[in-house]
Amino acid sequence: MIEREQVLHVARLSRLKLSDEEVAAIQGDLSSILDHVDRLSEIDIEGVEPTTHVVPLENVLRDDSPRPSLERDVSLSQAPDPSDGAFRVPSPQAEA
């Protein structure tokens, strides 16, 4: 059973603001999902290497040759709050 506190901690890490209903629901869902997932601990993984890639590739590198960048107004065209040719955000230092 995963604790409510853990849910709140993980929500903070995930930058999600959850309502009390959501917290309760997710606490239940995660607990039952993890019950199933915990069956993995029955498997003996002694000496087994982890798989990150199924394709055996290495050293895939690119030449250091410039490609055209986007026009600035294109870069900013999708920004929720463009300002002075930049992306504006609330200042981290304004945080109380």
Binding site: H36, D81, V89
Partner: protein, 483 residues
């Protein structure tokens, strides 16, 4: 030739008509735009004008030039709305095209529009779309499967000749099965992922959703290839040619009996067994095999995929693109934007994945799941030392009712029981329609999918076998079309 004839034909047949000059590209496009405009399945999130559709296809005159296509809304399309069915990207206009999108355009294929899906491809029923569920053309009270539900429903419902889908744990194969059409998940690395909005990067793969195996081969031939924009892409050596096999003599098909032992609908099981007999009739051999760890696939998958998803989805923060919620302060901006922008299933998986990666839990969950993945890879390797293919039902059940499985997440996740192991192993797998069966709870006869999996990069052999079997099955049912 009438519009309905034109749009009833397979892509291969239609391209033949274009080549012989019997119909013009314009006529074909017009006919399909007409069909797409009649979308009553909520299959499309956005449809484009004829002018927009042909952008980038000008001058192309390959064999597929003029053959329109529907594109899952998970692919970035320059200047065309791309949302991954999420509110957080509502109104987003990508500044670039996905490699797969460039390739179909370069082949001269007009884009009909962007198809609906589960939000960020997280789901097996298409009920997780922020823009409403997609209806199954066979029975509008039922789901088309997911996450590529819009693409599958559009093709099955005659709203598109074929479509691009993506598959992370079954998102091409399962909806294709539930909609009675063909869906192919190629080997991981055979098609570029560049511009494909990431769900779980080590599993995501693009693939064709089509009426038959021949169309699937044609489309795969266009899509596969190494891409310098994707470090993990390799392409398929020798490319892909149109399949022509007429029998299966000398080929051995492995059945993981333990895996498909329980949880399979009786109707699905009987169609599956009937199909095994057709394989034998074609000269193929059936052998029981063991995939000892395959039944842990779902557990491993639901650690790995959410973990990767939790970091892939962190970029949706309301800073550079997408929507920002009203907020005061920086942390508030992140939390409001993401809480408002993501749906329940996406939040659930972000939470699950973040938990699995958080300090103290990595080894117990992510690290362990990666090792179990290695063992599933081994299982397939040893199986393929004895057999040419591994076959299973694509999905444990036929299409289920809207809202039927939304209560308990794990029940929903079990839809991918037979498709997830191949995703974890990165091997190619195709689902072809094998017959009809009534759901256990009663209801109309609905399509059953048959899954065939092959060793990595053996798409050509896979397609040949599927083609031969397709001929023997002779599945020609289609859902009733709306005018």
């Amino acid at each position: 030739m009438t519009e309905s004839d034109l749009t009833a034909a397979t892509a291969a047949a239609t391209t033949g008509l274009i080549a012989s000059g019997e119909v013009s590209r314009e006529e074909v496009l017009e006919a399909w735009i007409q069909r797409a405009s009649g979308d009553d399945l909520n299959a499309y999130l956005c449809r484009v004008s004829a002018e927009q559709a042909v952008k980038g296809t000008e001058g192309a005159d390959g064999p597929l030039a003029g053959m329109p296509i529907a594109i899952k809304d998970i692919f970035c399309t320059a200047g065309v709305p791309t949302t991954a069915a999420s509110k957080i990207l509502d109104g987003y206009l990508p500044p670039y095209d996905a490699t797969a999108v460039r390739k179909v355009a370069a082949a001269g294929m007009p884009m009909l529009g962007k198809t609906n899906m589960d939000e960020f491809a997280m789901g097996s029923s298409n009920e997780n779309s922020a823009f409403g569920p997609v209806l199954n053309p066979w029975d509008r009270s039922r789901v088309p499967g997911g996450s590529s539900g819009g693409s599958a429903a559009a093709v099955a419902g005659g709203l598109a000749p074929w479509a691009l889908g993506t598959d992370t744990g079954g998102s091409i194969r399962q909806p294709a099965a539930l909609c009675g059409i063909v869906g192919l998940k190629p080997t991981y690395g055979s098609i570029s992922r560049y511009g494909m909005i990431a769900f779980a990067s080590s599993l995501d793969q693009c693939g064709p959703i089509t009426h038959d195996v021949t169309d699937a081969a044609l489309l795969l031939g266009v899509l596969e290839g190494k891409d310098e924009m994707d470090s993990t892409s390799v392409g398929i050596e020798g490319g892909i040619s149109s399949p022509s096999a007429e029998n299966l003599s000398g080929l051995v098909f492995g059945v993981p009996a333990d895996l498909i032992d329980d949880g399979v609908e009786p109707g699905v099981r009987s169609v599956f067994e009937a199909t095994l007999e057709k394989i034998v009739a074609l000269g193929g051999k059936i052998e029981e095999i063991a995939l000892p760890h395959a039944d842990h696939g779902i557990s491993a998958y639901y650690v790995l995929a959410p973990a990767e998803a939790s970091t892939n989805l962190s970029r949706y923060d309301g800073v550079r693109y997408g929507n920002r919620a009203p907020c005061n302060g920086l942390v508030d901006m992140y939390e409001e934007t993401r809480s408002e922008g993501f749906g329940p299933e996406v939040k659930r998986r972000i939470m699950l994945g973040t938990y699995a990666l958080s300090s103290g839990y990595y080894d117990a969950y992510y690290g362990r799941a990666q090792r179990v993945r290695s063992m599933i890879v081994r299982d397939f390797n040893s199986a393929f030392s004895k057999v040419d293919f591994v076959v299973t039902p694509t999905s444990p059940s036929v299409a289920f009712g809207l809202g039927e499985k939304t209560e308990d997440p794990w029940t929903m996740y079990l839809n991918d029981l037979f498709t997830v192991p191949m995703s974890l192993a990165g091997i190619p797998a195709i689902s072809i329609p094998a017959g009809l069966s009534a759901p256990t709870g009663g209801g109309p006869d609905l399509p059953v999918g048959f899954q065939i999996a092959a060793p990595a990069f053996q798409e050509q052999r896979l397609l040949e076998a599927a083609f031969a079997l397709e001929g023997a099955i002779g599945f020609d049912e289609t859902p009733e079309r709306t005018k």
